[in-house]
Each structure stands twice: as C-alpha cells, then as structure tokens.
Homo-oligomer: 261 residues x 2
DNA sequence: CAGTGGTCTAGACCACTAA
DNA sequence: TAGTGGTCTAGACCACTGT
C-alpha cells in the first residue's frame, strides 16, 4: 500500500533491507546477540535514525532467515538498553534520544574502566588487618577476621579528586600494588574469578576535615561528596566494602536511569 | 540419585512442589507474569530461601502445565531484577542477598512514590514563564517559549529536607497546586498520558548559600547534596528538568545497582 | 556421564493501534 | 480492517557443570 503525497514522518527505513546483516551460524556467538550488536551499531552510526521504524518482526525474521523469537530476543535486548521502543499496533522504533549510550553509574564505571588514560590511582596503604566491627558487619564476616585495607588516592590531570578506602576479605584476591595501580581493583577481582553481581551504594555530602582538605588540596570545610558501597558476588558473598570521598568542586556522579514499565 | 548422609547444602527446595502456584488462564495477566509474581512473593516471604535451587525448568514447566519458554520468561524477569541467579549445568537459585528488594534510585523513587505518609511537599511557586537559555537547552525547546516553573519544599517529620525546582513545557500537564501536593508530580504526568522512559541525573555537592540555609534550617556553608535531572518521554521528548537541593545532614541517595553480564 | 541452562525453530492466537 | 507487537506452545540440539 503505497502512500501518495507526504512521506510518512516515521517511515520504515528503506535502507534496512540493504543493511547487510552478516549472521554467522558457525560462530559461537548467539545469533540473537550478533543481530543485536549489528542493530546497535547501525543505530550508533546513524544508519537507523531516531524515530525510524524497524519494520515488523515477522518480515525481519523471514528476511534474516531466523525465527521470530530469535529476532524478538535481539530486539528485546536493545529495548532493555533503552535504544528501542516497542508500541503495540505501531511498531518498533529507534528511541529519539538525547543521550546516545546509557552510562553506568559513574563511580563504579570509573572503577571498572579505570585503565583509561585519564585517571591515575596511587596506592597509599595496602595491608591486612583484623576487621573492625563496622567492616565485619558490612562484609558479613566475623569481627577480627583478616581483611585487606586499601587506601588509594585518585587523580585526574595531576589533580587529586578522590580518597578511596576499601576493605576486602583477605583471602579473596592477591593485591599487588603495581598491578592494582595499572589494572584497577575490579579488573583484578574479575580475573581472580569473582563475578560481580550487585552493589549497594549510599551517596551523601559533608564538609571536609582539616586532614582530608590537606590531602585533597581543598579548604577545610569545603563540600565533599561521599559514597559508601558494598559489592556482592553472584553467590551473595560481600566481596568489597568501600568508603570514598570526592572533591565536589571537581567531581559529580552522572548517570542515566531507565524506567522499567 | 539420592545423597546419603549429608543433606546437600543447596538442595532443591522440597516444598516447591507443594507451593501451589495458582495460574489463571482466563486472566488478562500473562501467565509468565503470574508465575513471576508468585515466585517473587515466595522469595520475599522466605518460602524460597537464599541458596535454594529452583528445580530445573523442564520439570517446572511440566508440573505447571506451561511450556518451557513461558517458565523461562518468568524466571528471566526475576533474574533481571536480581532475585535469582542462573548457572549453566547447576541450576537456578535464589540469590543470597543482603538486600531484599532492589531499590530504585531514591530521589526518583521518592517522587514516584511520594504518596507515602512520610514526606510532604509544599508548592511555593507555580507559574508559567518564558524559558531561559539553560532551561530551553535542557528541555529541548526554543528560548523564550512557555515553561512552567515549580518551586517546592519537601519535609519529613516536619523538618525541611529539600528544595525542589522543576521546569516543564507549559502545555504538557495542567498543574494544580492541591493535586500536586497530594498526588506528586510524576503521578500527575503519568495520568496525563506521559510514559516516562529515561532520565539523566547529575549528583554533586556544594556549600549552602545564606538564603538556602535559611530555607532549609541549616547553617550557611553547610554541605548540601545537589541533583539535576532531565526526564524523557518514550518518544524522546524532554518532559521535565529539575534542580534539587538536599540537606546532606538529613538525606542520602541510597540505591542498588545490578551488574549486567 | 547425567543434568542443567542457553539457544533456536515454526508455527498459533490474541490485544491493541491506526486508517 | 489490516498490521503490529504480546503471548504461548511443543518440540529440538548444544555447551557447560559436576560426579
């Protein structure tokens, strides 16, 4: 049914059929994932513009030689990421987004990705001590058991931005200062076979003490952002407890959140 | 294959078969959703304890008279919520969590759920003004177009906790002060047919000015938590821009985040 | 090795939306 | 009314895990 006259405002992208999705059935990568990645990259590169309809799922599956559930799974994963929106009776369209990529919570993101060139982290203290009462409670271990305490100073562009204090069960990961500074804590935990599952965070603010001010190059009484985090393994084990302090003048938490229907 | 001697640490819960899942095929509520809700409530009430294996999907589907994909969809939704963990070759188990219910980001959660008895919100200002440069940029409207500006003071237990300043495109929602105070902004937007999709947030800290201190019952220079948020519709339209200020002595952002694999 | 979740297929009917 | 996504079925084979 051809429309005469005006082009539909939200036309199905005609180039979609030209988009050659290369699906490799021999690959160990799941088909739905291959499709999702290629769709995502098409969106990211503007091949699929915001508002474009994706074409109905049945056609897509026929054209790609996949079953409909497989195509749905690919699309659903992008819906979960906030890149696509489905409307019953209408179709699936690329979200008209101001924000390209959903960001992770920035502080955790920093920790996960701190290998990037920007921030450097200096290990100030790295030793095994008996767990104090609050640390033991946060980590779910018995008071007095051995925990590693880690004090680090993070800088960007040569300027101090944060004091990071972390506690981990001592037996969990061998923590070498050099690798810690180059690789980052979370990467070391991951390569030690720990799969992170969830974290509980509390963000607040308070005035800097004299000592904190000195270490962070601020005035005493300056506003600081504080963050406490306990991170859990997929078995539910607490694997890290940390208290972080950020210079509010040089650091904010930026993040996007998706409202689930 | 019965184990002799020690009970398995992670035994399949024997009571699971006794759990009478009541699935109503006549209901408009999807079967997978009915199952997911009942599983979630069983977890919440401790019928399914952390670490319990759920029993394999095939058996479950046979026992429930559902197809395996349907059962998987129910389980997957709880995995996405962080309540269950799947391990290939092992099974699905209830996550050994310290945190029962994953929380939403607390500030947005407050706004969504502010009907609760605790916090009250007083509308201090509610008028239509031409958009300033930064507001126009944040909302994606032209400078000078009409926007509603909303100043509110939030209290809990009679104590002021936050100053909320919000901007909305004027034509979007009729904003009645009384309903605003009793119902909350997000609920009013929802009932006006706006389906929230995503939000971009920035959390920081700074010292209180004299005026802010006076309105929040703090000392000048006290640490404040700041939050800026732009919320988007599922069409990608910006529907709200806000600048919030919280007393750090009485408010923190608490939230849980899930690491997606 | 047996048992688990991970992936995939080829259909079906329904509820909703827009013209 | 025609087209869309939402739900559901009954199978299948594979990869991984633990014994």
């Amino acid at each position: 049914m051809a429309r005469t006259g005006d082009r539909a405002r939200t036309a199905t992208v005609p180039a979609l059929s030209a988009l050659d999705f290369a699906l490799d059935r021999g690959s160990p990568v799941p088909l739905y994932y291959q499709l999702a990645q290629q769709l995502e990259s098409a969106i990211e590169h503007g091949v699929l513009a915001p508002g474009n309809l994706l074409g109905n799922e049945v056609d897509l599956s026929v054209r790609l030689g996949l079953s409909r559930p497989t195509v749905r799974q690919a699309i659903q994963s992008l819906v979960d990421k906030g890149l696509l929106v489905r409307r019953r009776g209408v179709g699936t369209q690329v979200v008209h987004s101001q924000v390209k990529r959903p960001l992770e919570l920035s502080s955790l993101y920093d920790d996960l990705e701190e290998a990037g060139q920007g921030p450097t982290t200096q290990v100030v203290r790295n030793e095994v001590v008996p767990a104090s009462c609050d640390v033991a409670a946060a980590l779910g271990v018995s008071e007095g058991s051995e925990v590693t305490v880690l004090d680090r100073l993070r800088r960007t562009h040569g300027q101090p931005v944060a004091l990071l204090c972390n506690y981990l069960p001592a037996s969990l990961v061998p923590l070498d200062d050099t690798r810690l500074e180059s690789t980052g804590l979370y990467r070391m935990m991951r390569s030690a076979g720990i799969t992170l599952h969830s974290a509980r965070q509390r963000v607040g603010a308070r005035a800097a003490t004299a000592e904190e001010a000195a270490r962070l190059d601020e005035e005493e009484g300056a506003a600081l952002l504080t963050m406490q985090r306990t991170a859990y393994d997929d078995t539910g084990r607490a694997v890290e407890y940390g208290t972080h302090i950020y210079r509010a003048s040089r650091y904010t938490f930026d993040f996007q959140l998706l409202v689930r229907p």
